[in-house]
Symmetry: C2
């Protein structure tokens, strides 16, 4: 039986698209059961449908977080989803939802956590003049952009870098690393470092 | 005329030793004018003396920060020191001293700043389960482990890593990167990225 992923997006869904294609071509031994968004006009939803994936809009705007998360968790339980994959989802999940799905929510963040959690991480790295930034894939806990780290990749800021070229480099790494981690998670080939204290 | 460095240490002074040797062998076109410490028994002082470098103890313990910094700045001005190099110096310099020597104080920190400023950065990176950490050399401003970044190097945490092996790897990178940055600073071969906003 193939493992099941659900993916949450708020924007273009370029990470979602890469993951979905890697499921379809068998690189990740899983299927994307559905793609959901807090925004009805997220470009990622249209992209998912064009790949034959069901989509849904979570009623954050109309009914608020509690209702939206209820819709989400009901669907996840009904479809027996194995992992919930955050791919540019711009809402913070409630501690209650995170606990219900403990160890089963995966997130990608465009920095080497614990550096620069929160939004606009690439721009903030750029403004700080860092020479190295990168990408982190981690399991989600109750704190924002926090939880056991599954994989990290560094990205070097070159002398001729612009913010735009840095964003492209980081997004390219995101696309590569996220599918690799999900493949390994699905194949039980990835162990989280245990027994260490949080930062 | 050779440029002049003063180095502050609190501990073993292994970075100081590497820098001093690289000055002696001409890799860095500068001389170490003196090595100072807040601790009279810092092993780095003995190491400096064995390399023929004058040392001094700053009277932090007996007379407090203000007096200690006065002794330091007087000596720096008298000797016309070009750069003050922090190498495991465990005191925070006052904003007044930092302003007086603005752009002339260099520090090394065992993380990829802005990740993990403060003490025990390697241990905290380890406890956080990061897959990548590293080393930062930066100019010192009024905040702790903060200021324009001159260089960064990543260090990968391997699957078989221990805290001890990680510390060794990071210290090796420190020794390499610090001398390289000082060489480039002295040769005016290093420009700080201008016009970016701080984190």
């Amino acid at each position: 039986m193939k493992k099941k992923l659900a993916i949450l997006v708020s924007g273009t869904g370029s990470n979602m698209e890469e993951i979905a294609k890697n499921c379809i071509r068998g690189f990740i031994n899983a299927e994307v059961t559905f793609v959901a968004s807090d925004k009805s006009d997220a470009a990622g939803l249209e992209k998912a449908r064009s790949l034959g994936i069901s989509t849904m809009v979570l009623p954050y705007l109309k009914e608020g977080q509690e209702s939206a998360e209820k819709v989400l968790i009901d669907k996840i339980l009904k479809e027996q989803v194995d992992w919930l994959v955050l791919a540019g989802f711009m809402r913070i999940l409630s501690p209650g939802l995170v606990q219900k799905l403990s160890g089963k929510i995966v997130n990608i963040h465009p920095s080497l956590l614990p550096a620069l959690p929160g939004t606009k991480a690439i721009e903030r790295a750029w403004n700080a003049g860092v020479k190295i930034t990168g990408v982190t894939v981690h399991l989600v806990d109750e704190k924002v952009d926090h939880g056991p780290i599954l994989a990290q990749e560094p990205v070097r800021v070159s002398g001729s870098e612009t913010l735009e070229s840095l964003e492209r480099k980081i997004h390219d790494v995101e696309h590569r690393i996220y599918s690799r981690v999900l493949r390994d998670l699905v194949n039980r080939n990835l162990s989280v470092t245990e027994g260490r204290k949080p930062v």
